[in-house]
């Protein structure tokens, strides 16, 4: 079959919502797009452990410590599923991690912001995991089988994280004046970066159109961002807090909230490496990896010794 036929057959499957599996033929660009997107998502989970990990040792109660550790551990699990999904496309985990460390692969910019108070743990769960869910729920139906299956597991846990985050803010919002101020401050700092998690406007988005056609993506950045704003603008009322946007207003005609202009200069700055914690986050990942090198080598050496001994015994 000439390549065109493969391609049209592939697109027919996509159009009919048939999942693409690892052994199926796929256009090279489809494969590359998926590797880029899935590995970027996996890296986000792993780097995302750092800002929240920053508060594990200082969590204010045993219960909160337990919830936080379990949450950060869930993110490690998400990283694992996603690396495994990407590996089905013919790239190894080590290679992907190498790309993260060299700066070739990106991760979500949100994790380049610092976690300054305990309320940031709640705000991250509510806003950051919340935005992640908006982005990810449609991915449960994405065209590539292993990715969509990984996302189904991930999304279940992410919505749990979001509820926990909101609940933790709710407790603080009913607490002392200091705690309430902490919540408002955390919302003020995390709101705009959360909106940026949906990526550039549709008109500026590099990869969107092709990804929609291949059903890797199913909704546009702006659509998802609007849904998120509509949801959070309501939930924030339950906390008795406000969002830091003077232009936020319900628009009867559109049946949506209008909201202010995003600071894209900040967005691109952080993406290109100049956020408050870019260097720190990447350094922490590299350090963990480098410090672990001898451990991984030892595990490998021991496994080989053991295999050799078993073979000898069997002979």
């Amino acid at each position: 079959m000439p390549v065109q036929n493969f391609e049209s057959h592939f697109q027919e499957k996509i159009d009919a919502d048939v999942r693409i599996e690892p052994k199926d033929w796929m256009p090279e660009k489809y494969r590359q797009t998926l590797i880029r997107q899935i590995s970027q998502h996996a890296h986000s989970e792993i780097v995302g452990m750092l800002p929240e990990g920053n508060w594990i040792s200082r969590a204010p109660s045993l219960k909160r410590k337990q919830i936080l550790i379990a949450k950060v551990q869930d993110e490690a699990g998400h990283g694992l599923y996603l690396y495994s999904a990407a590996e089905t496309l013919g790239i190894s985990r080590d290679e992907m991690i190498g790309q993260l460390h060299s700066g070739k692969a990106k991760y979500s910019s949100i994790f380049n912001y610092p976690t300054l108070t305990w309320a940031d743990m709640g705000a991250i769960g509510w806003l950051v995991d919340g935005a992640a869910i908006m982005n990810q729920v449609p991915l449960c139906r994405t065209s590539y089988g292993p990715y969509s299956r990984a996302m189904i597991r991930v999304c279940k846990e992410e919505s749990f994280h979001q509820r926990q985050g909101f609940e933790s803010l709710l407790v603080l919002s009913r607490g002392t004046p200091e705690q309430r101020a902490m919540v408002q401050d955390a919302i003020d700092r995390w709101w705009w970066p959360s909106l940026m998690m949906f990526g550039p406007h549709d008109s500026e988005s590099l990869h969107s159109e092709q990804s929609m056609k291949w059903k890797i993506k199913r909704f546009s950045n702006d659509e998802l961002r609007q849904r998120f704003v509509d949801m959070i603008a309501e939930q924030v009322k339950l906390l008795g807090m406000t969002l830091p946007d003077p232009d936020l207003k319900w628009n009867e005609e559109r049946s949506h909230y209008d909201f202010g202009k995003i600071n894209w200069e900040e967005f691109w700055n952080v993406v290109s490496g100049n956020g408050p914690c870019n260097k720190q986050r990447l350094d922490a990942r590299k350090k963990a990896w480098d410090d672990g090198a001898w451990v991984r080598e030892a595990a490998k050496a021991h496994a080989e010794k053991r295999a050799a001994r078993n073979k000898q015994q069997a002979a």
Partner: protein, 272 residues
């Protein structure tokens, strides 16, 4: 109830909490993702055990007569005394001073490298594994129930840490050297497992606790078996450090508590 049961329960709680705190320092920084998850799991199990013990200790205290309460004065969190409400698990964890903590010194040592962490876990889990078999028979039903629930977790901790001791001991030259260094640093802290504090002696006599002295031989046997596979040798040296069980700690605990307790100290009696 007696005074010793309260202190004894705190001692068990403190061991679990402090080691959980140390292990959770690895979360997000493990040598490989699967092991990051594994050490975090152990931290979570230990934290769960600690909560069970602290809740038990708080309930024990709250049900005491005023006379008995007074006799425990020195073990109570100072700031809590001005709250005028019942004692809670978090008061015990976050508001006691360093010298009121009764954990083993072994648990409070900084996490070190992966060799140090897995060897400490192995020593501790090998001990806890034996300990819980005995605590199952505790005359205190709550302690027996915690032992039952925890022993399943600890069986896994022991298997996991034994495997790592073997892997690193019998891995590369570097990993073997690091294990030996960890061993040289840790060995002197293992004697404290078997040096009973006063409240432990009382606990054993009265039947709610374990005679730790009796666990020594089985513990050594387990260590020797795993070490043989790991090509490591238990040091001959018999000098041991102790004091943690009675509140005399290393310099490390103060920093650990300062960090862990910070929010509860800055915002006393606040709900989080």
């Amino acid at each position: 109830m007696n005074k010793e049961l309260f202190i004894y329960t705190l001692h068990l709680a403190d061991n679990a909490l402090i080691l959980a705190q140390r292990n959770s320092e690895w979360t997000g920084h493990g040598p490989v993702l699967e092991q990051d998850i594994a050490i975090t799991n152990i931290a979570l199990d230990l934290l769960g055990q600690a909560r069970n013990y602290y809740q038990h200790a708080a309930a024990l205290y709250n049900s005491l007569s005023d006379h008995d309460k007074n006799s425990l004065e020195g073990s109570l969190p100072r700031p809590w005394k001005s709250f005028h409400r019942e004692l809670q698990e978090d008061d015990l964890a976050f508001l006691r001073d360093e010298h009121q903590y009764r954990n083993l010194l072994l648990t409070e040592l900084p996490k070190g490298d992966w060799a140090f962490t897995v060897l400490r876990q192995f020593f501790f889990s090998a001990f806890q594994h034996l300990f819980y078999q005995e605590l199952l028979q505790s005359s205190d039903p709550q302690l027996a129930a915690i032992a039952e629930k925890s022993s399943k977790e600890v069986a896994y901790h022991l298997r996991w840490s034994s495997e790592w001791v073997v892997r690193l001991g019998d891995g590369t030259e570097e990993s073997h050297r690091r294990m030996q260094e960890a061993l040289a640093d840790l060995w002197m802290f293992t004697g404290e497992f078997f040096t009973a504090a006063g409240y432990e002696q009382a606990a054993a006599t009265e039947g709610f606790g374990v005679d730790v002295l009796l666990l020594r031989e089985a513990w050594l046997k387990k260590v020797e078996a795993v070490f043989a596979e790991a090509t490591l040798e238990p040091p001959k040296q018999s000098w041991s450090q102790s004091g943690g069980k009675s509140g005399q700690h290393t310099e490390h605990l103060g920093y650990l508590l300062a960090e862990m307790q910070y929010l509860q100290r800055v915002y006393p009696n606040t709900t989080w």
